[in-house]
């Protein structure tokens, strides 16, 4: 008589880890962020555990056959939903970006601007391309448009 279906629950837990570890941890490293291979591997491992769990739940030696099957079905469905959410967020929602066809092209001059820096000081683009850095004239400037604290 087997009672606790550990592969099923371990698989479910690993599914949650696979999804949320991307946003909490792997997103910080370009090598695991640009393509989430680490998370997809975790999902694969979770799927193996869940399949083992389903086989156990549907085996003939369960103490509560109906309950085992219902629990396994619910846990599996939830796991598939979590995995689908992850795939959607990374591969589909990440591409919901405007076309930006009028953004400056290579060879064009960029529009001049003046904005406040983090200390409230007014800084212009012209200043950044002309004011010496460490006593030397700058060769250029990298403009990074950032989504912000999100």
């Amino acid at each position: 008589m087997r009672r606790f279906n550990w592969p099923l629950w371990a698989g479910f837990l690993l599914t949650l880890v696979a999804a949320f570890s991307y946003f909490a941890f792997f997103v910080n490293f370009p090598v695991t962020r640009d393509f989430p291979w680490a998370n997809l591997l975790l999902f694969l491992l979770a799927a193996v555990l869940i399949v083992m769990g389903i086989r156990r739940a549907f085996a003939r030696d369960r103490a509560h056959p109906t309950r085992s099957k219902v629990v396994a079905s619910i846990v599996t469905t939830l796991s598939v939903l979590v995995c689908a959410f992850f795939i959607f967020a990374i591969f589909i929602a990440g591409r919901f970006l405007p076309p930006s066809t009028s953004a400056p092209h290579v060879g064009q001059k960029v529009p001049e601007f003046t904005l406040s820096d983090a200390n409230g000081r007014q800084v212009s683009l012209n200043q950044l391309t002309s004011e010496p850095v460490d006593g030397k004239a700058p060769k250029g400037v990298l403009l990074v448009f950032y989504r912000g604290w999100w």
Binding site: V27, P30, R33, D34, P36, I90, F91, G94, R95, F96, L97, P98, S100, T101, S102, A103, P104, H105, V106, G107, Q108, K109, V110, P111, E112, F113, L115, S116, D117, A118, N119, G120, V123, L125, N126, L128, T129, S130, A137, P138, K139, G140, V141, L142, L143, V144, F145, Y146, R147, G148, W149, W150
Partner: protein, 90 residues
């Protein structure tokens, strides 16, 4: 240097936490972001307009030498690639 819609206060907080030392400018009404056609409408907190991620390498005359407009916001330019491009500036 970087630009976002965050206020100087929020930016200061972010710079301290992330250890950034480069110039970080605030464009709270997304005016410059709009002029560069980089608005991601309603994508911020409470439907606020924010910038799509974008990187421009500009030479000292203000001319664009390299651009990265990513197709997926989880994918960004790698620092080493940008440095390689920066080394080619005259």
């Amino acid at each position: 240097m970087a630009i976002s819609v965050d206020s100087p206060e929020v930016t200061r907080d972010l710079m301290r936490k992330a250890g950034y030392t480069f110039t970080f400018l605030s464009d709270p009404n997304a005016e410059v972001i709009r002029r560069y056609d980089l608005v991601h409408a309603g994508a911020g907190e409470n439907g606020r307009d924010i910038a799509r991620p974008a990187e421009f390498l500009v030479d000292r005359t203000g001319t664009v030498r390299w651009i990265n407009l990513t197709e997926n916001y989880w994918v960004r330019a790698r620092p080493e690639d940008v440095l390689d491009k920066a080394k080619l500036l005259p």
